[in-house]
């Protein structure tokens, strides 16, 4: 049978784009598709834990990145109409009013449905993100792993 695997590259760390990625991932998983999400560059911020994680071995620049980038899905900003953080708050309130699942819920549901999360180790190094700072029990790999997964999939998205 033809593969129905879906691969999604989450490059953006924008709240709205990450939302879209997870809605598609959850929908595909509900349709029994195998789903692989590859997080790279700003997209990695969606996988960060809310709490501050001590990372003593970072360089000065890596520490700056760590401090300035959003910590987790609740802190992401919108690609448009961000209004210094007011935009996502308003959007989240409206989503709640419309009973749309929140981004943390979508991430949790994706995990429950067996969606595979892969963090790009090269961009983790560049941005100084350590494994401890990201969600537990995810995979770590590089471009070849992603391409291997993409070869087996019939839909590939770059978000």
């Amino acid at each position: 049978m033809e593969s129905t695997k879906k691969t999604i590259i989450v490059f953006s760390g924008d709240f709205d784009k990450v939302m879209a990625a997870f809605i598609i991932a959850n929908g595909a998983a509900a349709m029994d598709d195998e789903v692989v999400m590859f997080f790279t560059f700003w997209g990695l911020n969606a996988l960060r834990k809310d709490a501050h994680v001590a990372a003593p071995d970072k360089t000065f620049v890596q520490k700056m990145f760590g401090a300035m980038m959003p910590r987790g899905p609740k802190k992401l900003s919108m690609s448009k109409m961000n209004f210094a953080g007011m935009g996502p708050k308003l959007m989240q309130r409206e989503m709640k009013a419309q009973n749309v699942m929140s981004l943390p819920e979508l991430i949790e549901t994706a995990r429950e449905q067996g969606v595979k999360f892969i963090a790009c180790t090269m961009s983790m190094d560049v941005m100084g993100l350590t494994k401890d700072e990201l969600l537990d029990d995810i995979e770590y790999a590089g471009v070849a792993s992603y391409l291997g997964e993409a070869d087996e999939s019939n839909v590939n998205l770059f978000i």
Binding site: I23, N26, G27, A30, M31, D32, Q98, N99, V100, M101, T109
Partner: protein
């Protein structure tokens, strides 16, 4: 195969999945979650308020191999019917 609204209304013993109030992809996730508890040939009824479900549930059913029977509108929500493969 087309099933009339009267025939849908006459169905009994269906497994009811209440996804009212949830938005995309809520109804599909709810159906997926409930499917394990429904035996082959039985009818699942999904209640939904998100109008996109009218297109999404048949698409999900087609993909999963279930038979979409149809829907009708109740007071302020949709009732959609699937026959499990």
């Amino acid at each position: 195969m087309s099933v009339t609204v009267e025939e849908l209304k006459a169905l009994t013993g269906t497994t009811v999945v209440d996804a009212r109030g949830t938005s995309c992809p809520g109804p599909i996730l709810a159906a997926k979650k409930a499917v394990r508890g429904v035996s082959s040939g039985a009818v699942m009824e999904v209640l939904a308020t998100d109008s996109g479900t009218l297109k999404d549930l048949p698409a999900w059913a087609k993909k999963m191999g279930h038979e979409y029977l149809g829907h009708y509108e109740d007071s302020g929500y949709l009732r959609l019917f699937l026959k499990m493969k």
